[in-house]
């Protein structure tokens, strides 16, 4: 199992460590509910250095990115980022990712830790145009500083005006005494904040200064458990749960990042699927009674037919109720539809709702 450059720091803080995507990661420090609330109400810092980073450069970089990704990266200018996915050839998704335009011929792709090798092989196999590719995953660290107080708490660490960095834009600038890091106004929590990309050798200094600068704002380290409850309250997809090699981006509600203004892998059949209409759809639901939906539980209609299963579920700390996502038949996907979740022996009523579950 691999360590991040900060695994020893988490252990010293008393974090509960778990293996995740091949890395020794902190799942919680003081408890998922308290950590969740810290991010919703103040500011928290996550070590998410397990995430993968690929640098794509050269005159063919954009051409390769346009071929493998579903969103339209040609719309980006320097300093902008975009959520996208890598469709496979069979209607499913290889991975979801964030694409950063550093320069016209220099792009950063940030992918899920569990898919680094798969994505690298996939993109490489389509690199017939000869873009230059480098896998920086082992050399780079990533900290997510998230919460409504992130801007105010971190301002003393940089000469950049943090409040001027708009959502899904970034600056390459000084931060916590390090000359060139990526300060990106992105995240997976729905509470605002930044993600900081830096070299492994720099991350411990940054981590320490972030905790120091944030102390007056109540900053705390946050583990993967709260990362999951925070993202699920926003209805953000998690690869491996809500999307995978067999789910269509259109079924997953990712039509907004599937742009038929350009050709990409499998774009023709996805366009046909859009014309024909999808048969199942990823929806969010809230339980009407007590209980917690969990991944794999059956979703039933009112005649006890299994219409799908739960892909993610949790007790939502900000809402104090059981929430989840799952694929259901198109007919039962409209908000307000009554469905049922089979929780062990009980058939618990639930309502399809629009996401995000948490509306700030």
């Amino acid at each position: 199992m691999k360590n991040t450059a900060l695994s020893h720091v988490h252990e010293a803080l008393g974090a509960k460590m778990v293996p995740f995507a091949g890395y020794n990661m902190p799942v919680s420090y003081e408890g998922v509910t308290a950590e969740h609330e810290t991010v919703r109400n103040a500011v928290g810092v996550f070590d998410v250095s397990h995430m993968g980073e690929f640098l794509i450069t050269g005159p063919k970089a954009l051409e390769l990115i346009q071929k493998v990704s579903s969103n339209d990266a040609s719309k980006l200018i320097d300093g902008q980022a975009q959520y996208s996915c890598l469709p496979n050839a069979d209607g499913g998704i290889v991975d979801d990712l964030i694409i950063y335009r550093l320069e016209a011929e220099k792009w950063l792709l940030v992918v899920n830790a569990s898919n680094i090798e798969k994505d690298w092989d996939w993109i490489s196999s389509h690199n017939t145009m000869g873009a230059e590719m480098r896998n920086l995953s082992e050399e780079y660290s990533l900290l997510a500083i998230q919460g409504p107080k992130a801007v105010e708490a971190m301002q003393s660490l940089t000469s950049e005006d943090l409040s001027a960095i708009k959502f899904y834009t970034f600056k390459v600038s000084d931060f916590a005494g390090i000359a060139h890091v990526i300060i990106s106004a992105t995240g997976y929590t729905g509470s605002g904040g930044f993600e900081i990309y830096c070299k492994n050798s720099e991350v411990e200094q940054i981590w320490n200064k972030v905790l120091e600068a944030g102390a007056d704002f109540g900053i705390k380290p946050i583990g993967l458990a709260a990362r999951d409850t925070l993202r699920l309250e926003m209805g953000y997809c998690l690869y491996g749960n809500d999307i995978d090699d067999t789910t269509s981006p259109l079924e997953a509600g990712l039509g907004w990042i599937t742009k038929f203004t350009k050709d990409f892998i499998n774009s023709e059949s996805l366009q046909q699927q859009k014309i024909d209409g999808i048969r199942r759809k990823l929806v969010g639901f809230e339980l009407q009674e007590r209980g917690i939906p969990r991944q794999g539980y059956d979703i039933l209609d009112n005649e006890d037919n299994v219409i799908g299963n739960v892909t993610s579920g949790t007790m939502a700390p900000s809402l104090n109720k059981g929430i989840g996502m799952g694929y259901v038949t198109k007919e039962l996907s409209a908000p307000g539809t009554e469905i049922f979740i089979q929780i062990r022996k009980n058939k618990v009523p639930a309502t399809v709702v629009k996401t995000p579950f948490y509306k700030g």
């Binding site: 509960k16 799942v27 919680s28 408890g31 998922v32 509910t33 308290a34 458990a225 999951d228 409850t229 007590r290 209980g291 917690i292 969990r294 949790t314 007790m315 700390p317 062990r344």
Partner: protein
């Protein structure tokens, strides 16, 4: 990690306090720490008579769910229903206010099979 010496334990991380032919049951400090923030304790077997190792309820934390196994055969004569509104007591006071059920013991011979504090500490590596 607290493992009081006056209690008995099971390999399923429950503690048992014996008082004559009655026993009080909860989950250990180690168990609550592993589960994390507990949000539901569900016991639907009140007044039932069950065998040792049968499931008498479930405990749900934010991240996981776990069955509760009866450590001794007997009738479930009480449930700590304050846990319905304050399940977090299992985290904050697992051996006190976080108790879960009381049993009327039907086979006292089974008490011999429970672990003492030393054996339980060895099990969890404490």
């Amino acid at each position: 990690m607290s493992v009081p010496s006056n209690l008995k334990y099971t390999k399923d991380h429950e503690w048992i306090s014996i008082d004559g032919d009655e026993a009080t049951v909860g989950i250990t400090d180690f168990a609550q720490g592993e589960l994390g923030d507990i949000v539901y304790v569900e016991v639907e077997t009140l007044d039932e008579t069950l065998d040792k190792d049968e499931v008498f309820g479930t405990v749900e934390a934010v991240k996981t769910v776990s069955d509760l196994f009866l450590p001794l055969s007997g009738e479930i004569i009480a449930f700590n229903d304050s846990l319905e509104s304050e399940p977090e007591k299992v985290n904050s006071d697992p051996y006190g206010e976080g108790w879960m059920i009381k049993i009327k013991i039907s086979n006292p011979d089974e008490i011999e099979e429970l672990l003492d504090d030393a054996a339980y500490k060895e099990l969890i590596g404490a």
